[in-house]
Each structure stands twice: as C-alpha cells, then as structure tokens.
Amino acid sequence: MNSEEILTLASGIVSSWDWVTEISRPNPKQMDVKVTSLQELIPIVVGLRVKRLGHLSAIVCMDLGAEAKEMEVIYFFCPGDAIIALRVRIPRENAVLPSLCEVVPGAESYERELREMFGIEITGLVTPDRLYLPDDWPEGSYPMRKDFDPKVLSVQE
C-alpha cells in the first residue's frame, strides 16, 4: 500500500465514527484527525490497530500556555511512509486522558512520561509511577509545562 491508499483507508475508518468533526491533510503524507471527545479516542485507535495501520510512534504533548488554558496531545501512528496524527485538546487544570495500554501495550512508557512531565492523569494506567523524575521531585510541579519555574526545586532543600 502506498501512503495515499493507507490514508484513504484510515480516513474511512475515522469518519465511520459520526462524531469526528475534522480531518485535514497538512501535507500529502500526513492526516490530522481532531478528536473532539475523549471517548472517541480508544475506538479510533482500535480501528487503526485492527487494520494494522502503523504502530504508535510517539505521543507528543504541547502546553499551549496559561492563557489558552489548554494542552494539545498528539498520538502519532506511522504506517509505511504515511503519518496519522490524532489530536486531542484537554484543559490544563485536572487534565485527564484514557490509557491506550489495553490496545497498545507499548504506550505505557509514553503515558507515564505524560503524567509526570505535564501532569495529565491517565485513567487505567497499570503502573502510574514516575518514570524519569526522581522520588524527591516536588508534587504538583510539572517540568514540561510552559510556566514551570525551576525555583521550586531549590525551595525544597
């Protein structure tokens, strides 16, 4: 399958869920899917997995800043030379995402990273422990957020 066929198949899967609002093609080899409700995320991933459309290549999270009050999480699936990006927006405060581990076991370490670096609660994560940060890292302080202040580390001492 070339990237065009892959993306046609993928957009067929994604648009068979009525509630998905937006599919865009930023470049010929990439398809962006804006997932508007978190409940849709896992069914879409199941659909991609069933059709063997790529592996979960990475989960990228971006803090859009204190003013936007939102974070954007992008799940990248890479079949062949195509890229499927599932985009989710979640609020910065009390951010919650469902765990993909039951569908994609390899997602565990990416999700553990999201949890400690951005403070996103992942529901259904089997080992929600810290992966990278040390044990004495201050609670409630997330280093990859835009407003992270390194001073919290010296106050601790």
């Binding site: 592996h55 990248f76 997602a107 992966l131 280093p143």
Partner: protein, 399 residues
C-alpha cells in the same frame, strides 16, 4: 530451618547507574528461585531536560545540544533535527550533502553494531570477542575522525547541509577500512552462528513472536529479528536513501541469535551502501542558506537509528527558537519488550536479554540488590556479579 517456596521470592533491582545512555535504567526483577516472575523499569537517572532546554535556545544552538543526546548515535540525532527543521523552513539540502549524511550515518551504524557485538559478547562471558570487536571498531572510529574531525560527536551536519566533504584520499582510506571490517564481520558471523558455547546463550532464548513484537512496539533490529518488516530507510526513505535503496534484513526466528544475525547482515548492507555512495557521490554544493527564523508550523521526521526508529517532532512559532521539540528514542520503545520478555526466563539470561535490544549500555559496574520480599533481609551483588552468575550458570551445565 524450614523454607517455604513462597518466602523464596526475591526482588532484585539492577541499576540505576547506567551512565552511558539517555535512558539509564533501574530494573526490578522479582524472582521465584531462578525464574523471573515480574519485571519493572524506572528510567531518567541521567535525564538532562534536553527537550525543555531546546525551547530556550535557537535552532543553531539546538543542533549541537541535540547531537549530545546520545554518544553512540549522535549523528542520527543531528540529522533528524536538521531534516525536520529543513522541512519546516522549506529548505532542501543539496544532493551531495544528503549523500554524505547517509554515508556518515552508515559508518555510525557500523561503529554502533560493532560496539554492541562487543558488549553482548562480554555479557555472555566471551571477553575475547569483546576485545577483538572493540579493536576492530577503532578502524571505523578512525574513518569517522578522518572524515569529520571527531571520534564521537561528529558534528557533520549544519542546518541546510553538511560541513565535511569526501576527497580522494579519504575515499581510499574508507574503502581500505571497509575491506578490513568486512573480513572481520565475516569472521564474527562464523563465530556467532557456530560457536556452541555462545549459541547456548543465544539460541532459543528470549523468543519474541512476530505478533508480540508488533504489539509491544519493538523497533529496529529487535523487531526485524522477529520478522516485522519495519525499517524507516525502506518504508519512508529520507536524505539520500531514495537514491541508495537499502535491503531490509529480516529473520523469522525472533530469538537472541536472530538479533545477532540481523545486525551482522545489516553490517554487510552498510558496507555495500557506503561503497556505492563513494562511487556515485553526486557533485553539488555542500550547504544552502538556512534562515535564522522559521515560520510557524509543525513537522514530523522519522529516521532509522542503529537501534530503530527515531522520532522527531518540531513545532516552530516564527521566531529563531522552536516552540516544542519532541524526541522519542528507539530504546524507550524496545524497553517494553525487555520487561515482557524477561518474565519466565532464568535470572541468568537477564543480562543477555537486556543486551539483546542494544540499549547502548556499556559495561559499567552496577549494584544489584537482592531483597527477600517476606522478611526484608537483603543481599547485595554487583552487575558484574549477576553477569558472572549467568556465565557460571551455563558453565555448570556444560559437559
């Protein structure tokens, strides 16, 4: 003294000192007698916050910063960053620069795979092979130094091209070096697939089926040894791989031996590719002008590092600094397979299973703590001790 099977369950923590890689790790293996029943990983002991640091530096500074993520595959990180930034800025490096990027990347793959042969041979107690392969690795390190001026962080890339060119003398030196390395690789292939002592440690150990590898998200040679056709150089050719296609090396067996065979076959493929590039190096400039400020946008790039797919994501915001840089290295994806594969195996196999994914760890001394889960008594041994345990465990079985 009465002992109950239940009380004989130990948790063994290996690590956390792995100073050699971005993902140094602490592993905890719960064992029942000799069999591993549970595995747990904790990383980040050398997490330097590079992703965060890139947001405060401009693109040129980031190039040098990101090249220092890994000491073994430094070139692939710099190439990944350059290609992603070039995609964002709509700049394309000239063909000669792209070919030299691939040339250095393949030399780096040779150096990385030779290093890995040595490390895993050492873990199996085959120190002679370790010494020889690291001696031979010096040849490729010298070639890289001759080409770029550096042994480790080659710094061959600049945004919009490369710094170094290949002249006639360098070409002759590389060809001579390759002949020597190819002969040595043939010898290692023979040793690693025929030496009965070594096969005892690799054949049929840590078998990962194709489905398992796919589900766990294994990448690179680890996945290809389980017959998962996943190689970014083939699937989505970048830089000059379109002009210089790569043959994918697959193996159906999925055990440790297959991982050796796949990597050794990849070495032969790299030799072929480098010779081809040297013969047909296109003539062009080495760099093009690259803007200081990159217009807002997002770009994704996947490259095949020696250990598997490397993922780069950059979001730009119109300034000379990126808004967000995300790096996903292959070891973090392959780590899941170690955790799942170790369960059910002998404790003595753990060093080889870890080494099997090539997590770039050098033979550092690590403390291993044995703790009795029931009464809290603990017993400390070093990584060296665990390695020795593995060697003696298999040595004892020998006739």
């Amino acid at each position: 003294m009465t002992t109950n099977q239940e009380t004989e369950r130990f948790t063994i923590s290996i690590g956390p000192q792995h100073p050699a890689l971005k993902e140094p790790g602490s592993f905890q293996f719960t064992v029942d007698g000799e069999i591993v029943t549970k595995a747990y990983v904790r990383l980040g002991y050398a997490h330097r916050g590079i992703e965060k640091a890139t947001e405060q530096r401009n693109y040129i500074q980031d190039l040098y910063l990101l090249e220092r993520i890994c000491g073994i595959c430094s070139h692939i990180h710099a190439t990944a960053f350059c290609l992603t930034a070039e995609k964002l800025a709509h700049v394309e490096a000239p063909p000669r620069a792209q070919a030299i990027r691939v040339l250095v990347a393949e030399l780096e793959r040779i150096h990385s795979h030779f290093l890995w042969i040595g490390v895993s041979a050492h873990e199996a107690g085959f120190d002679t092979l370790f010494m020889y392969s690291w001696r031979d690795r010096e040849t490729v390190m010298d070639l890289l130094e001759g080409l770029t001026g550096n042994r480790v962080n080659y710094s061959a890339n600049v945004l919009g091209g490369v710094k170094c060119d290949v002249d006639k003398e360098q070409k002759a030196a590389i060809l001579a070096g390759l002949d020597f390395l190819e002969e040595r690789t043939r010898h290692y292939f023979d040793v690693l697939t025929n030496d009965s002592m070594f096969l005892q440690r690799t054949r049929g150990i840590a078998v990962m089926s194709r489905n398992q590898a796919e589900v766990m998200g294994a990448l690179g040679p680890t996945a290809r040894a389980s017959n998962v056709a996943r190689d970014v150089r083939v699937e989505s050719p970048y830089a000059a791989y379109k002009q210089y296609p790569v043959n994918m090396m697959l193996d159906t067996r999925g055990d440790l031996e297959a991982r050796f065979v796949v990597r050794l076959n990849e070495l032969f493929e790299s030799f072929r590719l480098i010779r081809l590039i040297l013969d047909t190096l296109p003539e062009s400039a080495l760099t093009v002008r690259f803007p200081r400020r990159i217009p807002g946008g997002e770009a994704v790039m996947r490259l095949e590092a020696p250990r598997g797919e490397l993922f780069y994501f950059i979001k730009s915001n119109g300034t000379d600094k990126p808004e967000r840089v995300k790096v996903r290295t292959p070891t973090i994806s392959n780590m899941t397979s170690v955790i799942k594969l170790a369960v059910g195996h002998q404790l003595a196999d753990v060093p080889m299973i870890l080494a099997g994914i090539d997590p770039c760890f050098s033979c550092n001394d690590r403390t291993v703590q044995l703790t009795n889960a029931r009464n809290g008594s603990s017993n400390t041994m070093t990584w060296e001790g665990l390695r020795q345990h593995g060697i003696e465990f298999y040595g004892g079985k020998r006739k």
